[in-house]
């Protein structure tokens, strides 16, 4: 910035004391020094006029003076310093803001007299002498200034290729050095002006020295602050660099980069895995993608888990295990009491599989009340087949994606539960139990039942496509078993695909046998008791079943047995008893008061009350149908949380009774004078179905003929208007319920006769079973007097 040819004396200056009359341009916050260039923007009208006047001279010179107060827009002569610099206009361009100038300072001047103050300022100036003092002190100051200047530049621009020393040596004049350095520093105006006004080199250097020292302090603090911010910003960059270095070090040590290693392990596994071609292609593609991805990429983990899933899934058909039917039978018998029909059915399926290993595995549906052993039956099947057992609970599932997976584009996508189960099983042909299929929810996210259709359809599940996996997977070798408490809530298309096997509840004697064979040994083992330490005889179990539980299955019974076992275990542990035999009367002490009185039938039945039998999800129940006349009315009123089918059934019953009034010996006017009210307690429990038709007809007939129904007799069956008694479901549960309630006779539809063989021998011994094909047969069996007698009486 300083010309090489600078050692020449300042011969272009006019001699000290020379006088010029020149235009004056005031400057804000800027001091122009001799021999220093200054770009400036001039916008104020008076300044523009002054510049114009200067431009109109041959030599383009003017005087630059700094104003004392930078805030003033129209400074008057007294607002300006009196010492300024004569300058040459080197360049000028016009811009919308005013004039852009490049000024070059020539020499210091002092304003002697203001020649003009209107329009623009014009003054007579006298040139000030250039200080020329020399001496060791000047030299010392100069060196100090050079040192400080160097440091300032290092702080301001550490990379700048500026050598102050060189610059200064070229500018041999110490004053020139002071002026250049001062013009480079953002000095306060007042200090800059004092340097300009200094009459000796020493003074100028001293002032500059002072300013520089101050400036360095400020700059250093600013640099520190900026440095802090910068270091925070570059933290992540630093991390990146360190990681790169780490990788290099690992490569050097032959450890390899963990990402590469991971990919290499996967590649190795892929090469060894036996995959179908289309799967291998997909896996190859994803793996090569993985190898290119940085581990920090969000896709990295996702792609890795996907490749792992592909590698872990059992694509290869499993070796069909040799099925030993005898052994299977033994296993089923070991694990479950009775259930002959179900076991036979299972053994038939196994036989088919043995003869034709490629056949589609059957899809079974176990329906029955809770606690009858549906789940454990599935486990036994798996054991008999020597296949892994996987259980999925569908209860409450309402999102299709849970079954079929999410597409991989979603964050946190996972394969569906079916594929996950297959992966856990590690074999393509596990026994997969889909629990609680009747409790599938249905939400806004699609219908899981429909997704299940694809899983369970033997025609489709050979190419099951999970959304996550996005490759067809063969599920046809999977032995699906679904369980449900009721078939009513299973969608029809789903039900069609399954073979339904009913597991009815157990009779008391069966429960006692189950307890003896399975529950008590298991509970003893859990309580840490040896078989000889606790004996629970059958009478005790029987009392437990009758007085402490009311369930079709054995879950509660097992819990209670567990409680008994724990209490005895405590006594054994405390040393108060070594062996224990629990008598029926000990139960009071161990379990508290009896919870249920034995289901006693009502002691007396009034005319108009009949005993019906109902099937519920938890087994059979005895219910009473009550009918009463409604004097003055004509309507048929039905209450007791009755569903539509049962309501229709009641209407049919009424119609039949009214239309057979004569046959029943009822005077026709009895119908005309009064309506009838049918009620089925308990009122809070919803009831539905046609099977109470027989009981309702009997109740109405009893009411109108004023003949009580036999209190030891319960009945079930659907009726038709023609008076036929039609078969109904749940016969076993209903008969067991009647037996539990201590009833002696049951009236069943003729059409259900063949189901009688399901009923345990001991129950059949206690109960008299009457089969009816017409409603008249029912009335004959149920009413205390025969209809004929009633008719005769009336």
């Amino acid at each position: 910035m300083v010309d090489r040819e600078s050692d020449k004396a300042l011969e272009r200056e006019t001699p000290a004391g020379a006088v010029h009359v020149l235009a004056v341009v005031p400057m804000k916050q800027t001091v122009l020094y001799p021999h220093v260039a200054l770009p400036a923007l001039v916008g104020r009208p008076t300044s523009v006029e002054a510049v114009k006047a200067a431009l109109a001279t041959e030599e383009k010179t003017l005087v630059v003076v700094t104003q004392r107060d930078p805030a003033l827009e129209e400074p008057r002569p007294q607002d300006l310093y009196t010492v300024g610099t004569r300058a040459v206009l080197k360049q000028m361009t016009r811009s919308p803001e005013g004039m852009r100038l490049l000024l070059v300072g020539v020499e210091r001047v002092v304003i002697e007299n203001w020649e003009q103050t209107e329009g623009f300022l014009k003054a007579r100036v006298r040139v000030l002498p250039t200080p020329t003092d020399v001496g060791p002190e000047v030299e010392a100051r100069l060196r100090a200034v050079m040192d400080l200047g160097k440091r300032v530049i290092e702080i301001v621009q550490p990379d700048a290729d500026v050598d102050v020393t060189e610059m200064v040596t070229r500018n041999a004049d110490p004053l020139q050095v002071a002026y250049v350095v001062a013009s480079l520093l953002p000095l306060p105006t007042e200090q800059g002006q004092r340097i300009l006004e200094a009459d000796t080199r020493l003074e100028a250097l001293r002032l500059l020295n002072e300013s520089l020292t101050n400036e360095i302090k400020v700059l250093q603090i600013r640099k520190e602050i900026a440095g802090q911010a910068a270091s925070e910003m570059s933290k992540s960059q630093r991390e990146y660099v360190l990681r790169q270095q780490l990788r290099a070090i690992q490569a050097e040590l032959g450890e390899g980069d963990p990402q590469q290693q991971e990919a290499a392990v996967l590649r190795d596994r892929l090469e060894k895995a036996e995959l179908p071609d289309h799967v291998r292609k997909e896996a190859e593609r994803e793996l090569s993608r993985l190898e290119r991805l940085p581990p920090a990429a969000p896709d990295y983990q996702m792609t890795r888990s996907y490749v792992e899933l592909i590698l872990e899934l059992p694509w290869k058909a499993a070796e069909p295990a040799e099925i030993d039917l005898g052994k299977a039978r033994t296993i089923l018998d070991e694990d479950h009491f009775d259930l002959e029909e179900v076991k036979d059915r299972i053994l038939e399926d196994l036989a088919v599989m043995k003869l034709n290993p490629g056949a589609h595995a059957p899809i079974l549906c176990f329906v029955g009340p809770p606690g009858v052993g549906k789940t454990s039956l599935g486990q036994s099947i798996a054991r008999a087949l020597e296949r892994p057992f996987e259980r999925l609970s569908l209860g409450g599932m309402h999102d299709e994606a849970e079954l079929r997976g999410h597409r991989r584009t979603y964050i946190g996508a996972m394969p569906g539960r079916v594929i996950q189960a297959i992966r856990r099983a590690g074999r393509r042909n596990p026994v997969m139990m889909l629990d609680e299929v009747d409790k599938l929810g249905r939400g806004f996210q699609g219908d899981p039942a429909s997704a299940l259709l694809e899983v369970l359809d033997p025609a489709q599940n050979g190419t099951f496509r999970d959304n996550y996996l996005d490759l067809p997977f063969d599920l046809s070798q999977v032995f699906f078993i679904t369980t449900a408490n009721t078939l009513d809530t299973i969608p029809r298309p789903l039900l069609d695909r399954m073979e339904v096997l009913r597991l009815a509840g157990y009779a008391r004697e069966e429960k006692v046998a189950i307890a003896r064979r399975h529950l008590i040994p298991r509970r003893l083992a859990e309580a840490g008791l040896k078989p000889d330490q606790l004996e629970i005889p059958d009478e005790t179990v029987s009392r437990l079943v009758a007085s402490y539980t009311r369930e079709a299955g054995v879950r509660e019974l097992e819990r209670l047995l567990g409680r008994v076992a724990r209490k005895v275990a405590r006594r054994v542990a405390e040393g108060t008893a070594q062996t224990h035999r629990v008598q029926p009367d000990d139960l009071q002490e161990l379990l508290g008061d009896e919870r249920f009185l034995p289901e006693e039938a009502r002691q007396e039945l009034l005319p108009g009350v009949a005993t019906g039998l109902a099937w519920t999800e938890s087994g059979g129940e005895v219910l009473y149908v009550e009918a009463a006349l409604l004097p003055g009315g004509k309507e048929l009123r039905i209450t007791g949380s009755i569903g539509d089918v049962m309501r229709e059934s009641a209407t049919a019953a009424q119609t039949w009774v009214w239309s057979h009034a004569q046959q029943l010996g009822v005077a026709a006017d009895r119908f005309e004078k009064a309506g009838v009210h049918l009620h089925v307690p308990a009122g809070a429990v919803p009831k539905d179905g046609p099977s109470a038709g027989v009981a309702m007809t009997t109740a109405l007939a009893s009411l109108y003929t004023d003949t009580p129904v036999r209190r030891d007799t319960a009945m079930t069956g659907e009726i038709s208007l023609a008076g036929l008694v039609l078969p109904v479901g749940g016969i076993k549960e209903k008969v067991l319920a009647a037996h539990r309630a201590g009833l002696k006779r049951v009236v069943l539809p003729e059409g259900n006769r063949r189901e009688l063989k399901q009923i345990p021998e001991e129950v059949r011994r206690d109960l008299e079973v009457v089969f009816a094909s017409r409603i008249e047969d029912v009335l004959e069996a149920a009413l205390t007097r025969s209809v004929r007698e009633a008719r005769a009486r009336s």
Partner: protein
């Protein structure tokens, strides 16, 4: 009118020195006989140019005065530098043994420096 000292430090054109606000551009030729220096001095009166030889330096200095000064004209742009100039060029020839000839042609000042045999 505030300025960034750093910017100026890095980007401003070389500041003048020795009191001369501008430096004329120069071409230097090595000729069969010696040296030819061509200086861009358009608009400079030949009376305002001084050529001196000092040691082995050729110094051309002077002043360009604007002679196009009309009343009522408004100067809209100014890129031509006026006022004093100086250009010093180091020459590889012995001092005092050179012949120097100057010539003004079409705005260029031609300075011939030829060592005497």
């Amino acid at each position: 009118m505030s300025r960034d000292p750093l910017l100026e430090l890095l980007f401003s054109e070389p500041a003048p020195s020795s009191g001369a606000p501008w430096r004329p551009r120069a071409d230097v030729y090595h000729t069969a006989h010696g040296w030819l220096v061509k200086l861009d001095l358009a608009g400079v009166r030949s009376a305002d140019v001084t050529v001196t030889l000092s040691g082995n330096s050729l110094i051309v200095s002077g002043c360009r005065r604007d002679w196009l000064l009309e009343r009522d004209w408004d100067h809209m742009q100014m890129e031509i530098a006026y006022n004093c100039f100086e250009r010093r060029l180091d020459l590889p020839c012995e001092p005092g043994s050179c012949r120097v000839a100057t010539e003004f042609r079409d705005g260029f000042l031609l300075v011939r420096v030829e060592p005497e045999r």
